[in-house]
């Protein structure tokens, strides 16, 4: 088995800090991703997505005028979105629980807390490659399945069609 495997991928980095963009670009280069576009906020990223296909998006959370949450919601939900299924890794120093939950509810695929390490970034990319998640469409949400595990002790409401099958099988 020989690499790299990523050579034809197109990535998009959405980050307002030029140093972070440069670092992320270098890290993606090190796994063989060479075709990388950069945007400094969500609105610019949307324009780039329309102009050019992207297979992977890395986005910051806090940016102006459009932040990473609004950008993610656009990608997942807007009729004009070129690829609602594109994997989105949100990278942020804002790691408070309510912000991570907001990112999840916007439809991000993975959340990576700053400070960035190559190991952590690669682990998130490996997760996307190795265990792609089902997508869920329901009232008020479209995006990757927010339940990562089937928990035996799950005590929340049973709402999905396949939940009933699982429940009845027990």
């Amino acid at each position: 088995m020989s690499g790299p495997g990523f050579e034809n991928l197109k990535a998009l980095i959405v980050e307002d800090n030029a140093h972070m963009r440069s670092l992320l670009r270098a890290l993606l280069n090190s796994i063989g991703i060479k075709d990388i576009a950069e945007a400094s906020h969500g609105q610019m990223a949307i324009e780039l997505l329309r102009e050019r296909k992207s297979d992977l998006v890395l986005t910051d959370l806090a940016m102006k005028p459009m932040d990473g949450l609004e950008f993610t919601r656009y990608v997942r939900n807007n009729d004009q979105s070129p690829n609602p299924f594109v994997p989105i890794i949100m990278i942020s120093g804002h790691t408070e629980r309510y912000r991570v939950e907001a990112a999840r509810d916007a439809g991000v695929t993975e959340f990576l807390a700053k400070p960035i390490t190559a190991q952590n970034l690669f682990a998130r990319i490996a997760e996307i490659v190795e265990r792609p998640r089902a997508f869920v469409r329901c009232d008020g949400y479209f995006g990757p399945d927010r339940r990562r595990q089937q928990r035996d002790d799950y005590s929340g409401p049973w709402r999905r069609k396949d939940d009933f099958e699982i429940k009845e099988a027990r």
Binding site: S2, G5, L23, A26, L27, S30, I31, I116, A118, R160
Partner: protein, 159 residues
């Protein structure tokens, strides 16, 4: 249990939408991600980026000092420092900035006024840590721990 009609929740399996990589490519990509030579290349990339990042952190420190009473400007600079100081190897600087951001963020969320002394103490500590030749000195870590304890106390009072 739902008796009739369309399910309100639609699950779209990974095989039913376009994946980032085909299966053969995915196997090669995983190999690449886990290869020691990839880790070495990435480490080199990080090291090459560090001098510019450290210089940028010092600029943000100056920005924070110049911000004086402008808390929005000060928070923005502290947030940038929190974002990549640790990546640039300035661990103590990053941790103190993290505490300051958490304090400012939570107090604002609770609708409570910021204590200017607490903010000024953090700004001074961040500046000292960032300018120290050895960022990881024991003194800096002790200051970071004391400031974190102070902020935790004030936040618990504010809740």
């Amino acid at each position: 249990m739902r008796k009739s009609g369309k399910p309100k929740v639609q699950l779209i399996a990974p095989d039913s939408y376009p994946q980032m990589l085909s299966k053969p490519r995915a196997a090669r990509a995983l190999h690449t991600l886990r290869a020691p030579e990839t880790a070495a290349k990435a480490q080199m990339a990080m090291e090459e980026a560090m001098p510019a990042m450290r210089a940028a952190i010092l600029q943000y420190v100056e920005e924070m000092e110049r911000a004086a009473g402008d808390m929005t400007r000060l928070f923005d600079a502290a947030h940038e420092i929190r974002g990549f100081a640790e990546t640039a190897g300035m661990v103590t600087t990053g941790r103190i900035a993290e505490v300051l951001c958490r304090y400012m963020d939570d107090m604002t969320r609770f609708g409570r006024p910021l204590d200017a002394t607490i903010v000024a103490l953090h700004v001074a500590a961040i500046a000292r840590a960032a300018r120290a030749e050895d960022d990881n000195v024991r003194t800096g870590q002790a200051v970071a721990a004391e400031l974190a304890a102070l902020v935790a106390k004030r936040l618990s009072e504010a809740e």
